[in-house]
Point group: C2
Chain length 327, copies 2
């Protein structure tokens, strides 16, 4: 059994979405159990009829850390919050992973202070799983996607090592291909930071480092892991997700408005568009996670719907099997 | 009359594409003249029947700077190249703008040494025009999209001032909205570089600075000018163009392969997809240009087809009317 600590209060939609999404994950994964942290009566009201109550437990947590809260202060003061209690359950071995759509700064800070750091990673990073159009390499990890904006070359070298291990489990990839995000593929390209990082990664014999990689080739499925500082990674992530989401919605509107298509053809085209939107805005994948702490913590969008939350719970379960989180 | 110096040799396709594209631009713009630099007989062979030969001149340039050439050395040594001779024609006032699909490093280096720098810009930048889904703000400028990768805050302040002027002409925008590319919209977000740049831009009373902006909102048409260092700008540019191009081609393939649509409906959907591909991979816009030199130089993709090259010639003509290039 894998036990997931679920923050039912976090996110824009509350227990109606988080409890339902987690229940869907339990329904589809027989070996999954959930610890629901939050308001007992709200959680009970949100449980769908199909929920297997023998594989779940409700743990009262009466405080909520909101997006307006200062992360560090909130983690210190709101001891009865869903985030603090959920992370403690993971730290104490009562759960294998924590999943939340709440205040990402608080989750990050709480993860470091309550669960503790992985000794092989000096500064924890955010990891986002991004989709590709390739059937053989459908996803890749971007590390760091926004946490460590003043990264040093040695941090990226650590992300490469630990990130490769986690990609083996999460992406079912043997000998994951690791690239360094850069503005050209030649080894001499980039700024002082990328040049120094390139040397460190090249020297690591345990790493399948393929060299520099540019953003537009990644979507074709060329790598399992791409390394970058948190500033550049966050810009790239938002550019990719934003472009996919806005363009697909715009195209969908055009199809709906101007189409002379027959009704069933229009429906078919709309379904195709929604499948692209869900895939390329990460609904199908779930959230991101933190690299550099001792247990898996999945942080999903505040706006996550039931399906995205379900996939985040499943990601937490998958991550807990990785060698980097064995304890 | 506006005179454009055209490098007919640059790019993957040669005079058949560049001369044809420029001839299309002349056909659609009565006030346009072209100086064609290159191989006389090849240029003559490439001229389409509709070309108005009274508005063009062929100037022999027998050397070609290839993509394999070292930019600085090539500009110094290949005095008879299309790039060096074309830039000289602009420097000497025989043409108003230079357009090329050739070696971008050589064009950049040659522009600085032959045409000379704008005294208001310490380090020239690359500008790319990107499309949005908005009807009221269909395009915006990204400065710098890849030239000055070790930018200082004062460089971006200069780009804001000069870039606003050029946006007024090129985008027909009054009081262009200027944003600073960042990983969050709050003024406290980002790294030391963006924080210092934010202060400089805020202090400039001549600038319509709106604050920080994230990549995913730009596609909605929120700004006319977005400022960033050349490294981040190049990553964003390739992420946006790459995502749009790869996703749209993937979707087009799916429509072609699996569709049960009637033939004319399939054709309609394909046309719609191609219109998106052309718009969002910049075929409809043309190339980028250099900010910080005394005359307009447009650099387009080596792979540019006839229509993209046509639009690049038209961009050169439009830029030559901007106040920043008046001499």
């Amino acid at each position: 059994m894998v036990k997931i600590a679920v923050d039912t209060a976090g996110g824009d939609h509350g227990p109606g979405t988080t409890v339902y999404g987690a229940s869907l994950a339990m329904r589809d994964n027989a070996g999954l159990e959930c610890l629901f942290f939050g308001d007992q009566s709200q959680i009970e009201a949100a449980l769908p009829g199909f929920a297997d109550t023998s594989r779940m437990e409700i743990i009262a947590a009466d405080e909520v850390i909101t997006d307006e809260d200062d992360p560090l202060r909130a983690v210190r003061r709101k001891k009865d919050s869903t985030i603090v209690k959920g992370l403690k359950a993971v730290a104490e071995g009562e759960a294998d992973a924590f999943v939340s759509a709440g205040n990402s700064g608080a989750i990050f800070a709480g993860s470091v202070s309550i669960i503790g750091q992985n000794p092989n990673v000096t500064r924890p990073a955010s990891v986002t799983v991004l989709p590709t159009v390739s059937e053989s390499t459908p996803h890749y990890l971007i590390i760091d996607s926004g946490a460590n904006i003043a990264a040093k070359p040695e941090h990226l070298a650590q992300y490469g090592r630990v990130g490769s291990k986690v990609a083996e489990q999460l992406l079912q990839a043997e000998n994951p291909r690791v690239g360094l995000l850069n503005i050209g593929s030649e080894s001499t390209k980039g700024n002082a930071f990328t040049k120094e990082t390139f040397q460190l990664l090249s020297a690591d014999e345990d790493l399948n480092f393929t060299g520099n990689v540019e953003p537009h080739t990644l979507l074709g499925g060329t790598h399992e892991v791409v390394l970058t500082d948190g500033f550049t990674g966050n810009i790239m992530l938002k550019a990719v997700e934003g472009t996919a989401g806005i363009l697909m919605h715009d195209l969908l509107e055009k199809i709906k408005a101007n189409s002379s298509l027959a009704e069933n053809d229009e429906k078919m085209m709309e379904d195709l568009m929604y499948s692209y939107i869900n895939r390329y805005t990460n609904q199908d994948i779930g959230g991101g996670f933190i690299l550099g702490i001792k247990a898996p913590v999945v942080i999903t969008h505040g706006s996550a719907g039931e399906m995205m939350f379900k996939h985040s719970v499943e990601m937490g379960a998958e991550l807990s099997k990785s060698i980097i989180f064995q304890r």
